[in-house]
Every structure is written in C-alpha cells, then in structure tokens.
C-alpha cells in the first residue's frame, strides 16, 4: 500500500471513478516496476492482488500500512470504466466484475509468457472478456422498479398469452423500458430488430406496463440473436405482475 502525494490526490479530482469509491490505475513505482491496482478514496494505492474486500481493514489501518512503505508512485494512468457500465446497467457491471478480473489477469500473465502458454493465456483472456460483455437481463441480478416507471412490450399477437385475463403478467415475462421504446421503435419491424425477435411477423402490438414501485425485475441489454443485432434494453418481470398493471395493445405500423 502506498499513499499518494497531495498533487497526485488532486489530479484524481477530474478523473472518473472505476466503481464507487475507487479508481483503477496502472502505476509506475519508484522501485522501478509497474503495477496494476486500485486507489481507494483518491488516497491509498493498492496493488491488484491486495483486494480490499478481502481485507479486514478500516481506513486508519490502510493509512497506517501505507505510511510504512518507502516506495512511492512516480506516475499513474487511470483506467477508464467500461463503456457498457455507463448507461444505467450498474448492477450488471458488478455481476460481471469477476470476468473482467479474470480477463485482465490472463492478459497480464500472457505478457510474461511465451510460446503455447502465451497463446493459451491470450485465448483464455478473450473467453473471459466475452463473458464479461454479456449483459443480458437473464444473467443480471434482480433489482426493483422505481416509482412511476413505465415499460412496453411488443408482440405480433394481440392476444399475448403472457398478459393474464386480469391484465397482469405471468412470471418470467420480457419487456422493455418506455424510454427505449419511445426512442427507437416506430414500427413492428423496428421491434423485431432491436429486441432480436426470431419471428418473421412484425411485433406491432404494443402493451403498456405500469408496475408498482419496488417490483422485482432484471435489467439488461438484448444480445445479438436470430440474425438480428439486438441492442435494446430488456427487462424481465421475475415474479410477474398483479392484475390491472397492463393496458393495450395499441397497434403501430408493421413497417
């Protein structure tokens, strides 16, 4: 652990955090080597292997330990947060952190390897990086709706069977946010493309969903599938919705 200089601390004022409360950096140490690591609270540098969440340390302990070292940081480069974590999918990013760590660890190890070992480490890194980028709702942790949040569901079928007789939803039903729908969907074909639907038929029937606040759901991004690019926001109503929460459908043009 290394304490930053006042100038280094000040330089982080304008740098975005990697996650709440810490920056991720690549630092050149006065001892001559370079290390990946984290800067907690803009003040204390930890090497990557010194995972703070595995330590039973308080803030004073961090400061005390950092004061014992004679090594300082010559300079550091802040590693930006992944773009996919910056658009309201915070929970997914956290759940994928393990794969980011594995990918980066394999890539770093490959730098010091050669021959077949290097090739294998690079291949592993790619596999982990791919897993880290998966942001589908089905892989996301369960979160809750906000007060007044509205969702839309697109279907080729006006008699959508996921909508119950009492105008609720059965468990495990997909939808999207009103914001995503309003911004991107003007026709039934638009919905097929953005939500990667396997149907040939345009999803031109639009249901509006108004759940109560704190309803369980998973949020994510539609992965490319069914020869469609996806990319829309998808949510899953994990335990369904009670009667009276769904209206529609209204019909939008097919094309």
């Amino acid at each position: 652990m290394i304490r930053l200089t006042p100038a280094q601390i000040a330089s982080l004022d304008t740098e975005p955090e990697y996650r709440m409360g810490y920056h991720k950096v690549h630092a050149k140490l006065s001892a001559g080597r370079s290390e990946f690591g984290y800067i907690l609270n803009q003040t204390i540098f930890l090497q990557e292997r010194e995972n703070p969440w595995q330590m039973n340390y308080g803030w004073e302990d961090f400061c005390g330990e950092a004061g014992k070292t004679t090594i300082s940081i010559d300079f550091f480069r802040v590693i930006p947060r992944e773009p996919e974590t910056l658009h309201g999918v915070r929970y997914i990013a956290v759940s994928k952190e393990k794969w980011h760590v594995f990918a980066e660890r394999s890539a770093n190890a490959a730098l010091n390897a050669c021959g077949p070992t290097r090739e294998k480490l690079l291949a592993n890194s790619e596999v982990f990086a791919k897993a880290a980028k998966s942001a589908e709702a089905k892989d996301a942790p369960i979160t809750v709706t906000s007060e007044g949040e509205v969702f839309k569901r697109f279907s080729p079928y006006p008699n959508d069977r996921r909508v119950t007789a009492g105008r609720g939803l059965v468990a495990g039903t997909f939808a999207t946010t009103r914001e995503d729908a309003d911004a991107h969907i003007k026709t039934g074909v638009d919905a097929v493309v953005r939500y990667a639907l396997p149907e040939d038929k345009p999803a031109s029937n639009v249901f509006t969903i108004r759940p109560a606040a704190d309803t369980d759901l998973q949020r994510g991004t539609v992965a490319p599938a069914n020869n469609q690019p996806g990319g829309g926001v998808e949510v899953i109503f994990v335990i369904g919705l009670p009667d009276g929460t769904v209206t529609g459908p209204i019909t939008i043009p097919d094309k």
């Binding site: 569901r153 697109f154 279907s155 080729p156 079928y157 008699n159 959508d160 069977r161 996921r162 059965v170 468990a171 495990g172 039903t173 997909f174 939808a175 999207t176 939500y195 990667a196 639907l197 396997p198 149907e199 999803a203 539609v222 599938a225 998808e234 899953i236």
Partner: protein, 66 residues
C-alpha cells in the same frame, strides 16, 4: 419451416414457464417415438416452427432450454 400449433395442454404449460426473449421460448420437444427436437422456438406459447413436421398429438414432453 413448418408452423405447428401446440395442443392446449402444452400451451398452458408454456404460459407458466419463463420466456427466453420477448414473446418467445426456446424449448426441447420430446415426441412419443423417442425423438427429441432441440432448440425449437415457440411463439406466444402456442406456435412452434420446426424443420421436420410432426403430429401435435405425438408430443410427450416440452422442456424449456435454460
């Protein structure tokens, strides 16, 4: 591709299983003669598209692909 409408018993079963995406489920269909049709898309819990047609009454089980 042939579109086959599922019998009511399977519609009722699928409606109570989670979706694989908006409006569809990916399932394995086991037929009475032992054949299993894998990764079949079912739309609105009622219509499936298959390469090899079969009689709906032949269905012995439908299981969601996780």
């Amino acid at each position: 591709m042939t579109t086959i409408r599922l019998p009511a018993i399977w519609i009722d079963r699928l409606v109570h299983l989670p979706e694989s995406g908006m409006g569809y489920q990916r399932v394995n269909i086991r037929l009475q003669r032992g054949k299993v049709l894998k990764n079949v898309m079912v739309f609105n819990a009622e219509e499936c598209q298959v390469l090899e047609p079969f009689e709906p009454s032949e269905i012995e089980d439908v299981e969601l692909v996780r």
